[in-house]
């Protein structure tokens, strides 16, 4: 219990620090906030005063900071400089396409990792060597490049999938695959190493001696052991997936957070960029915390160590 509370406390601390860093970035960003907001529009002292009062720029820094945190807690991410709309409205509609993409990619990723690892663990050298080579290649190839290759082959040459956009489920397949291949390859490497270690344990020999087939030993006995490190790794890989999603969305011309973020960087719309970055950080912290807690749940030995 203490371990769980400690882990949760740590995560809250990281989130708070991330929010504070974001606040500092916003304040320290070059250019005067009022100038940015006035932009090319009408520029009168009244308008300037209204903006200053609206943003609370006349208040002491501490008050501004606390107000920022208070609003953040209530889901208020500020206003977009360029679009003159609340940031929540700007990114709100773009969250679901990205979530959809990463969820399907995660599912593909699990299937690829489990499939490759279970089929090749402890198998002949040639098959293993070949699969390892393929894994090394897809792990090293950037996801957006895999996306370009898939797009070129399956959309333009063969015409099996739509070229861009987000009209139907078919449009989701290639982007999700581009994200899943590198991560699936990486997870399968880790998983296979774990499986092979578990297969050398005495319990694997016992199970084999009881007459189980080698696949049954892998699936029923070794897999449980090998999954442990994979779960922790999966938590941290969420960060990679979010990074890659930003670029892959652009390759396939999909709506989503990547589109919003890239546009906003081009327009110097700092509040929008910050919101996307903070959202990603929050998702990452939440999921890696969950993965760590799952680890405590699966392996009782760690519970004692962490509490001590």
């Amino acid at each position: 219990m203490t371990a769980v509370l400690k882990r949760l406390g740590g995560s809250v601390l990281v989130l708070w620090a991330a929010a504070t860093a974001a606040y500092l970035a916003l304040r320290l960003s070059p250019g005067d906030t009022v100038d940015t907001l006035v932009g090319d529009g009408p520029d009168t002292p009244q308008i300037r005063a209204a903006i200053i009062a609206d943003l609370g720029l006349d208040k002491p820094a501490v008050v501004q900071y606390l107000t920022y945190l208070w609003r953040l807690l209530h889901g208020d991410l500020g206003r977009s400089y360029v679009l003159q709309r609340p940031v929540v409205d700007v990114i709100g509609g773009q969250v679901w396409p990205t979530v959809k993409l990463t969820l399907l990619a995660s599912a593909f990723c699990v299937v690829i990792a489990l499939g490759l690892a279970v089929l090749t663990a402890g198998r002949g050298r040639w098959l293993r060597g070949f699969v390892s080579g393929v894994e090394l290649t897809v792990v090293s190839a950037p996801a957006f490049l895999i996306g370009i290759l898939l797009l070129s082959l399956f959309s333009f040459r063969l015409g099996w999938f739509p070229v861009s956009g987000d009209r139907d489920a078919a449009a989701l397949v290639l982007p999700a695959l581009s994200l899943a291949l590198p991560l699936g390859g990486l997870l399968s490497q880790v998983l296979r190493e774990g499986l092979e270690r578990a297969l050398e344990e005495p319990f694997a020999l016992t199970a084999r001696a009881r007459g189980l087939t080698s696949y049954a030993v892998v699936a029923r006995h070794a897999l449980r052991h090998a999954l442990l490190p994979t779960v922790t790794l999966a938590g941290t890989l969420i960060g990679f997936m979010l990074s890659a999603a930003v670029v892959v969305e652009r390759v396939f011309g999909r709506p989503g957070l990547g589109e919003v973020a890239t546009e906003a960087v081009g327009n110097k719309d700092i509040p929008v960029v910050l919101a996307v970055v903070m959202l990603a950080a929050a998702v990452y912290v939440a999921l890696s915390t969950l993965a760590d807690l799952a680890y405590l749940l699966i392996d009782p030995r760690l519970r004692k160590e962490a509490a001590a």
Partner: protein, 282 residues
């Protein structure tokens, strides 16, 4: 009869030459030549347009075909290595230096300082790498220098953490304790005894990290955050050629394949060095 030779006592970091490693080293050699002297491999001007031969498929005159302006894709890829690789190398060097230094300080400092630095690493690594880099570029300006800084910033925590952990191990080891009992000052102890042993794994990690740095540089350039067209930077080339994918796959696929082969070679060499290194320590 077999003669059993005694194992050499000196540290042997030579790598066993498997066909894969040899190929990887050859690839990296070629890439290095392309970075230092691209004209040795492709003598033409990477910006020279030829309006009569636009989007020509690969043939003997143009190995990688030509792009929408009739520029030779092979020449552009060769000359682009300089941009892509030097951004990756500079970013990796910077993040290893800064991250490593902070990690060393964290590992040697009393608890409060260590805690603060470790939390800072945690906070920085909570931001997905590409997004953190995007934020940095939004606050500065697109282009190669901010790309280097942005990537260095997003990679620094990983080196910081590794160096911190390594420092913790080394400072508790017997020989450091002994040096301390001889009355060595803290700075001397850190510089002469701890640092050299902490640095050991860094070149290996940096080799593997360089691969990711090159990939991230290309990804950010693809988004338009790096060197601007007409620079033959690999990510920027991919971004331009995305629009011609329907009619000219080679303008995207061949530069992309070059990028992938380079990164695979870096990763393969890095991993082999790592295995070698861990074997030595075990």
């Amino acid at each position: 009869m077999t003669v059993v030779l005694p194992r050499p006592s000196t540290v042997d970091l030579r790598v066993r030459a498997t066909p894969g490693t040899v190929a990887a080293v050859l690839v990296l050699g070629l890439v290095a030549v392309a970075v230092v002297a691209p004209s040795l491999i492709a003598g033409d001007d990477p910006l020279a347009a030829d309006p009569l031969h636009t989007l020509d498929p690969p043939d003997t005159a143009h190995w990688f075909g030509t792009d929408q302006l009739g520029r030779d894709v092979f020449t552009r890829v060769v000359h682009g290595a300089r941009y892509s690789l030097s951004i990756g190398v500079a970013a990796t060097a910077l993040s290893v230096a800064v991250g490593g230094l902070l990690g060393l300080v964290a590992g040697l400092s009393p608890r409060p300082v260590d805690g603060l630095l470790s939390r800072a690493f945690d906070v920085l690594s909570a931001f997905p790498e590409v997004l953190l880099a995007l934020l940095f570029i939004a606050l500065t300006a697109p282009g190669a220098p901010s790309l280097v800084l942005a990537i260095a910033l997003s990679f620094a925590p990983r080196y910081g953490r590794i160096v911190r952990a390594q420092t913790m191990v080394v400072r508790r080891s017997g020989y450091v304790e002994q040096a301390r009992t001889f009355g060595l000052s803290g700075v001397r102890l850190a510089g002469r005894h701890i640092l050299p042993n902490v640095l050991g794994p860094l070149p290996v990690l940096a080799t593997i990290g360089l691969g990711s740095a090159v990939v991230n540089a290309a990804a950010l350039s693809f988004l338009g955050m790096g060197p601007q067209p007409p620079s033959p930077e690999w990510g920027a080339m991919l971004s331009e050629s995305r629009n011609y994918l329907r009619v000219a796959w080679w303008t995207a696929v061949l530069p992309g394949a070059t990028l992938t082969v380079t990164v695979v070679a870096l990763t393969a060499v890095g991993r082999r060095l790592q295995r070698r290194f861990e074997g030595r320590r075990a």
